[in-house]
Subunit: 223 residues, 2 copies
């Protein structure tokens, strides 16, 4: 039996080799794969993309992806879950903040658009590729989306009952508002004629001031 070497330092633990811990490196790798997959899925569509395409985008071979994800669908699930859950966590608090329904919705519209700006490809995937998810994953994502939309509809409903908003069917107004908000993914580009701040200001006016009829935001002085 070899002599016991208790408390000996692990080999190679010198100052120059202290990189990120293995668990952190693994998380970073997963995030790289998810980001690359989101970009390619958004451009070509989930079914048209091969595991080899995703792997090439992160500089590894197709088989190596299976060390990080059990299947191609798990990568899609990670893309959709991340963007959808963070959308809820980041933006719904603005609907609970102090202020009138119009003020809360205006802050929400700004937050929604600014959140999605750096996550454009993930949002496109989350909007268009849900049919490719497994039934269980699909149900989970749909749950987040339904809750998000219902919370907005409830605030619209409150604003109409208080008289701050002009009368309309709250369901229809909520569908229309999300049509405007989500439509941005199909036309906005960073190098386009409009920058994000112009879009945010304009959409707060068009949605909260005009479509819902809040006088505070009708002319864009407060957005």
């Amino acid at each position: 039996m070899a002599p016991e070497q208790v408390d000996a330092p692990p080999p190679g633990d010198g100052p120059e080799s202290t990189g990120p811990a293995p668990a952190a490196r693994r998380r970073v790798r997963r995030a790289e794969i998810v980001a690359a997959a989101a970009r390619i899925f958004a451009q070509q569509g989930y079914a048209a993309v091969g595991m080899r395409d995703i792997a090439e985008a992160v500089g590894i071979r197709g088989a190596s992806l299976y060390h990080h994800f059990a299947s191609k669908e798990e990568i899609l699930y990670a893309v959709c879950l991340t963007v959808t859950r963070e959308l809820n966590e980041q933006n719904l608090p603005f609907l609970d903040a102090p202020g009138t329904p119009g003020q809360r919705l205006a802050a929400f519209v700004r937050a929604h658009l600014e959140f999605l700006q750096p996550r454009r490809v993930e949002h496109i995937v989350g909007l268009h590729e849900l049919a490719a998810l497994s039934p269980a994953h699909r149900a989970e994502i749909d749950g987040y989306r339904r809750y998000y939309q219902r919370r907005v509809r409830d605030v619209i409903d409150a604003g109409m009952r208080s008289g701050e908003f002009a009368p309309a069917d709250p369901r229809l107004a909520a569908f229309a508002a999300f049509g405007v908000l989500n439509g941005i993914s199909s036309w906005f580009h960073e190098d386009g004629a409009l920058d994000l701040e112009e879009v945010v200001r304009g959409y707060v006016v068009l949605i909260v001031g005009r479509m819902l009829g809040s006088r505070e935001y009708f002319n864009g002085q407060n957005s």
Copy 2:
């Protein structure tokens, strides 16, 4: 040599066998294939659908589709071209009709929504699967779409310059209007809580009366 039988009627040309001419039958078959493909493409996504899936939906074998279309992409092209071109042909005349910009846009919104109601699946395909078209086909469809949107933006611009509409960036207002209009494909179902006429009336008010600010349509008395 057999005796000549000039002007003899073709065999089986009796009264009970006079069906459609062969050219008409062929056109009908093509339309059947396009309709079935649109439905399946909309549900599963173009790349996830096989030629065998389309063939099965019309009751033939996969190879038989190649008698009607040269490739799978040609079927997608037929779906996209038909719905996009007819959208232009059917609805743009409402923008040239007599009346104020608000009246013309209100008629256009109604026509757009009523046109798409029986073509929901084709519209979804035309919105989401353009990336799978060949570059030449893609350019043709994009041309129709750009023209359609520019015509609407021009009417919005005219209404703002005449003072009928409230001031706003016409590009942003047009994007917002199309966001509302096209968003309907992702939530409207025939057996849902709202019927089409309610949606049409509500959207004319929300888009023309509220978002654009035409007083004639603000309260829904004229829609």
